[in-house]
């Protein structure tokens, strides 16, 4: 693997890490922003409905026989067509009024009742897999918790929008990753073109075969170095050649090195030497 590729992969890994985390953060942010906005809007509706019902109770009406309650609930529901249902339930957890037909008389989800009883505050909240329930405690002029109000909002819609946003974000991140991968390939190649050239230049500077063609493969910046290196190499080889010649003359042919090293390089050395 070339060094440029390695470095490019590193850069891309970092890029992927950053894009991945930013996608994740944006996704979470969208989820929480949407949930907060929905919560606040539902709170406005729940608060107003609670006010209306308690005002009627404080006129001295029993929660059990509030004639205006169904109308109050319908009006609240008209604020947002996506509201699944609004229920008013008594302290025992039985639904007294509801926007849903047939719900009256049923017991509310025990989870809502326990949430409503647990929190000392006037509002409670239960979220299940399918619905977000915004609840309010109903008080009369002398008793707390004479009943409760529950606003049921389906999560499917929100979940769908969050999922759509997730897909959009991932798509965008992938496209950007692709685009920047290309850019990165170009960038690292440009930034590292010297590295490759240095390697080959240095190799050629040392290996220079003097064939003429190789000279052009040595970057201009290295040519002076290559020249003096080759001079040194040539001189060293010349002198070693001389030594070998002397030894051969003195000790006979069996002392000559078996390899053709000197032979192979002989012409080169001479070539360079002649050039000087």
């Amino acid at each position: 693997m070339s060094s440029a590729t390695k470095i490019m992969i590193t850069a891309l890994l970092s890029l992927g890490f950053v894009l991945g985390l930013i996608t994740l953060l944006n996704y979470f942010k969208f989820e929480s922003s949407l949930a907060a906005l929905t919560d606040r809007r539902l709170a406005v509706i729940a608060d107003n409905t609670q006010d209306s019902i308690e005002a009627a109770v404080n006129l001295g009406l029993n929660l059990q026989n509030l004639e205006s309650a169904p109308a109050v609930l319908q009006r609240a529901r008209a604020q947002d067509g996506r509201i699944e249902a609004l229920h008013v339930f008594g302290a025992d957890g039985r639904i007294l009024y509801s926007t849903g037909t047939g719900a009256v008389g049923d017991a509310i989800d025990p989870a809502w009742l326990s949430a409503a009883r647990q929190t000392g505050a006037r509002s409670w909240r239960v979220s299940t897999d399918t619905a977000l329930v915004t609840g309010r405690r109903l008080d009369s002029s002398f008793a707390q918790g004479i009943g409760g109000l529950a606003l049921v909002y389906p999560v499917a819609d929100g979940a769908m929008r969050v999922a759509a946003m997730r897909d959009d974000l991932i798509g965008a991140a992938l496209l950007i990753l692709l685009a920047f991968t290309l850019l990165g390939a170009v960038g690292t190649t440009l930034a590292l073109r010297h590295v490759g050239r240095l390697f080959s230049g240095l190799t050629h500077a040392v290996e220079d075969t003097g064939s003429g063609a190789s000279g052009s493969r040595i970057p201009p910046s290295l040519q002076a170095v290559a020249a003096s290196l080759q001079t040194n190499l040539a001189q060293a080889r010349d002198q070693l050649d001389d030594m070998e010649a002397i030894l051969a003359a003195a000790g006979g042919p069996d002392r000559r090195p078996a390899t053709g090293d000197a032979g192979a390089h002989g012409p080169v050395v001479r070539g360079v030497g002649a050039g000087e």
Partner: protein, 346 residues
């Protein structure tokens, strides 16, 4: 008592299920419930508090036979009623007003078991000052077979409510000094007024030749004080309550609004507003106490004597129009607006 309570709950559930027309399948049919016997001792007929008491118990689906006894302002009839209650073996006696309550149970330190109920639990309502009248020694715990509810709205709550209408600065009170209630009330107002930055200006009602407070002096007093204050306050003073029409009309003529501590001056006269315990709700609260004694088996001597936790803010729209002094928009969500001309509130 406990067995009876259990029966009641069973019965209540049956009633609930039946009335809603739902097939809640009971494991066994509930035994027929014998209704509670509750004697209601009234001072002057069955008004709002009395109805609130009855409606609450009916709403809770508690079976009750009401034995309504209206003494029609005749204090001589109480000993007979005590005897009757014993003879009929009633489960609970409810009394309306200070006189009826004292007539049935006596002052806590002067109880005569022959004349007063000790063996049957009693709940009282519409007693202005139960401790001062010696019905009970302490509001936390009566220590006798008696419990009940309060009707007066505390002065500090009154002052705060008044301030939500407008940031009034100077409060005028006219009262007569021989009424202890009135004097005490003025003292309390002064105390809380100091904390809220209100200035309190008072006038005492002069006595006439007979040594009685003089009602004819009221218009003059109101007119005189109107220059110094921007609101009149009617606390608990029987004298002013009796002469409420004169008083509130004089104030209206001077262009100064009147706030009252009870509903009568607003509903029946020309006071602008009042933060009040609606008698109907007091009746319901009293019935809730009765329910605790009858159904839950609580002992009256251990039950605190409480006021409503929420009061009604009544606004007299006719007066508001006349004074061009309208309630703020936010208050309208909670206020009970009365005497609206034409169509009325939605």
């Amino acid at each position: 008592m406990i067995r009876r309570a259990a029966k009641t709950v069973g019965f209540a559930l049956l009633m609930l299920a039946g009335s809603l027309g739902h097939g809640v399948v009971s494991a066994q049919p509930a035994p027929p419930q014998e209704p509670y016997k509750v004697m209601m001792v009234l001072w002057r007929g069955c008004e709002d508090a009395c109805r609130g008491f009855q409606d609450y118990l009916a709403g809770q689906r508690i079976p009750v036979d009401f034995l309504v006894r209206d003494v029609n302002q005749d204090p001589m009839r109480f000993p007979n009623l005590v005897a009757e209650a014993r003879a009929l073996d009633v489960d609970l006696v409810m009394t309306w007003g200070t006189t009826a309550t004292l007539g049935m149970v006596g002052q806590y330190d002067h109880v005569d078991p022959d004349l007063h109920l000790t063996d049957i639990p009693v709940v009282f309502m519409i007693v202005t000052d139960p401790v001062g009248a010696r019905v009970v020694p302490d509001l936390e715990r009566s220590g006798r077979n008696v419990s009940g509810t309060l009707v007066v709205v505390p002065e500090d709550v009154q002052m705060r409510a008044i301030q939500t209408y407008r940031p009034f600065k100077r409060l005028g009170i006219i009262y007569n000094t021989d009424e202890i209630n009135a004097v005490v009330s003025v003292e309390r107002v002064r105390k809380t007024a100091a904390e809220t930055g209100l200035t309190v200006v008072t006038r005492e009602v002069p006595l006439d030749a007979n040594g009685q407070p003089d009602p004819d002096s009221l218009p003059g007093l109101v007119e005189d004080l109107a220059d110094e204050v921007d609101l009149f306050y009617i606390g608990s003073s029987s004298f002013i309550l009796v002469h409420r029409d004169v008083f509130t009309r004089a104030a209206l003529a001077s262009g100064v609004p009147v706030a009252a501590a009870g509903e009568v001056p607003v509903v029946e006269s020309d006071a602008l507003m009042g933060l009040v315990s609606r008698y109907y709700n007091v009746g319901r609260l009293t019935a809730a106490k009765a329910e605790q004694i009858l159904v839950e088996g609580k002992a009256p001597e251990d039950m605190p004597i409480e006021a409503l936790s929420r009061f009604s803010f009544i606004v007299n729209m006719e007066v508001a129009h006349e004074l061009k002094l309208y309630p703020p928009l936010g208050l309208l969500r909670f206020a009970e607006v009365i005497k609206v001309k034409q169509g009325g509130a939605p």
